[in-house]
């Protein structure tokens, strides 16, 4: 097979490329240049591109850099910024997967006549690619959690459809992170002990989210009020508050009656029109169902009342629940949970899994309506 491997410059994608080479495939490595601005982690820095290139040199495979920075700005950064301006917090890594890795990159592999693409994600795809990227092929393909539960990344892949699964190889999905690092060490790859990337690649640790957004959207003060409407305090940057947030609320976060038994208040709601955020005890955040929109299916749609697992953040604990589609059939619906969970900020991904002894299967997912 002729495989285009997406290398971020990290250890997982390095080993993915190594494994594909060892299996005798014709491998070409490629790194996407996504972000042109300052970055201290993530997949976009020159140092990371250099690591990817050096790994490819060691493996004896060609390496290319694809400049997708204008698409990244348009499809990931702009929606992220624009979301915050209307109290929605999209997960940029998921938009990046949807628009860059599994769309733009997939398109490129298809144009260049590759038979498959491979990435370093910790997840598993059943079956093997069969022919050219974008070509016909019989499924169904299944997407399963990675072998290493602690490193599983199937959550950020929920948007994949059959069309991509048929072209996708995830070579490290059957390995634990330790095994991945051990393999990289055995091969002497320079990325063997490189730390895992953290956080959002285009937001630097020094300035943080607040500096990044503050430069791009109008940010202004707002009132902090109790659910009864009693004024508790003020914040300078209302746009930067997220539902569920506890830190950074000042004295309003813990003083006064109604702060709950822990004596702490959480952000229950952000209202940018009335310039206020409602604070209250944890109990005020707990919900037993979630409104989900923009749902896409990886696998067979859930049956009525079928017991599923629901995951609401990248490394969050899954909770039992079931899916109730909207009668309109418009990709909206409601997830009912067997136990109350903290409400998820609007824009966050909600992913449904079908329990399976060999590793839970991703059924599909969408974004929380808040």
């Amino acid at each position: 097979m002729r495989v285009l491997v997406a290398l971020s410059g990290g250890v997982d994608s390095s080993v993915a490329a190594a494994l594909m080479t060892e299996q005798g495939h014709e491998v070409v490595g490629a790194t996407m240049k996504l972000w042109g601005g300052p970055s201290d982690s993530g997949c976009c820095s020159v140092a990371d591109v250099e690591d990817a290139r050096r790994v490819c040199q060691q493996l004896g495979v060609a390496h290319h850099v694809f400049n997708f920075s204008s698409e990244f700005e348009r499809d990931v950064v702009a929606p992220y910024v624009e979301g915050h301006a209307r109290a929605v917090t999209p997960n940029p890594c998921i938009s990046c997967n949807a628009h860059l890795k599994f769309d733009r990159f997939w398109q490129r592999a298809r144009h260049l006549g590759f038979d498959a693409i491979a990435t370093g994600h910790h997840a598993r795809v059943s079956g093997r690619p069969t022919g050219r990227v974008g070509g016909p092929g019989a499924g169904p393909w299944h997407l399963r959690r990675g072998r290493d539960a602690a490193k599983d990344q199937s959550y950020v892949l929920y948007m994949l459809g059959q069309a991509q699964l048929r072209d996708l190889v995830l070579p490290v999905g059957e390995m634990t992170k330790e095994e991945v690092r051990a393999h990289a060490s055995r091969l002497g790859l320079r990325t063997a002990s490189k730390p895992d990337s953290q956080d959002v690649c285009f937001i630097s640790r020094t300035g943080g989210r607040s500096a990044f957004l503050g430069d791009r959207i109008p940010v202004g003060p707002g009132r902090l009020v109790s659910p009864e409407g009693v004024q508790l305090g003020e914040v300078q940057e209302l746009e930067l508050l997220t539902v569920g947030q506890r830190r950074g609320l000042g004295p309003a976060g813990h003083i006064g009656p109604g702060a709950g038994p822990s004596g702490r208040r959480y952000v229950l709601d952000v209202d940018l029109v009335q310039r206020k955020a409602t604070l209250g005890p944890l109990a005020g955040l707990m919900v037993s169902s979630l409104d989900v929109g923009g749902v896409t299916w990886v696998d067979e749609e859930p049956q009525t009342g079928e017991a599923l697992q629901v995951q609401m953040s990248a490394h969050g604990r899954p909770v039992g629940g079931h899916w109730e589609p909207s009668p309109l059939g418009d990709g909206h619906g409601r997830v009912w949970l067997v136990e109350p969970v903290r409400r998820v900020a609007a824009g966050q991904a909600v992913v449904l899994y079908r329990p399976d002894p060999d590793g839970d299967l991703v059924v599909g997912g969408g974004t929380s309506g808040g």
Binding site: T31, K33, C44, V46, V49, R53, H64, V65, F66, N67, S69, A98, H99, F102, D103, R104, W106, Q107, R108, R110, H111, L112, G113, G134, M159, G161, A163, Q164, G294, T296, G331
Partner: protein
Amino acid sequence: MPWLSGAYGNPSGHHSVAAAARTALDQARDVLAGALGTVPGDLVVTSGGTESDNLAVLGRALLAPGAVVVGAVEHHAVLNAGRAASQLTGQPLRTVGADRHGRVDLSELAKALDPTVSLVSVQLVNNELGTVQPFADVAALVRRRAPRAVLHTDAVQAAPWFDVAVLAEGADLVSISAHKFGGPQGAGALAFRRPVELAPLLHGGPQERERRAGTQNVAGAVGMAAALAAVRAAAPREAVRVAALRDRLAAGLLERVPGSVLTVGPGVPTAPGHCHVLIEGVDSEELLFMLDTMGLAASAGAACASGAMEPSHVLRAIGTAPEAARGALRLTLGHTSTDEDVEQALEVVPRAVASLRSVGASPGPLARRSA
């Protein structure tokens, strides 16, 4: 190459091995100075075109602060040296636009010139398009409107083909780079054609008449001189031969690749080796990948620090629409290019374009799914 083995002397030393190196360097300097229209003592050997451009632009601006005027289609070595000069001196950087063929806009240049201007830098030949600049007109304008200004020209792209001493008539400072005419990488020169005081960028010993400290790259200078002598000797014949190859390549591409246009219009003088086309509906990053796998090395613009291709500042400056600039393809022919190379390009490029187009645009798997 004896200058890297037996005759491995420091040309500033006082023993016989050093003398051999010194002689070799002096002889190289004679050749280079002759070709660039100056005297051997006024030729500074550098590490390449970038250093030569920086020494000229930054060195002049630091010694005689004043406005710096550069063309918008200059090489980054000039553009960024101009930016640095402006930042360091607090004096303005004036960037002069170009017409749609890449020629500096003379009326805009005239407006940018005044007695406060300290340095003007305009290339002889554009590195991406091959367009030959109307340098005599530039020089005349500068003399008339900016009497204090030093006129620098980046002749890096011109040196392989033209008699720089003649084409750069009117320039005070001339940059060249060895690897553009078959010499070694990491060697270049800045020729002083009139007495110009510059602040050195490298401080240390008194080499190069105190204009560039550091032991000279003897092997590089010798290689550069030999290569320049060789291309100069072959130039008139080679220019005709390569221009004919290029014309055949350009005509062939236009004929065999539907939706392709030449970036530089007919009748505009260009360097013989440059062939720049815009191809509709293909992405040059994808096209270059395909061409590379088919054994053809081509280019589209400049690369950034990560190695990714950047949208060309030259195409932007000449007003090419971003959509059209996406399909830029630059093929350059050199002294080693042959009929077979052109045949190969004319076979491979249309095939690569057709292959990319046959796959066609697709809304993408995700778009299809949610539709």
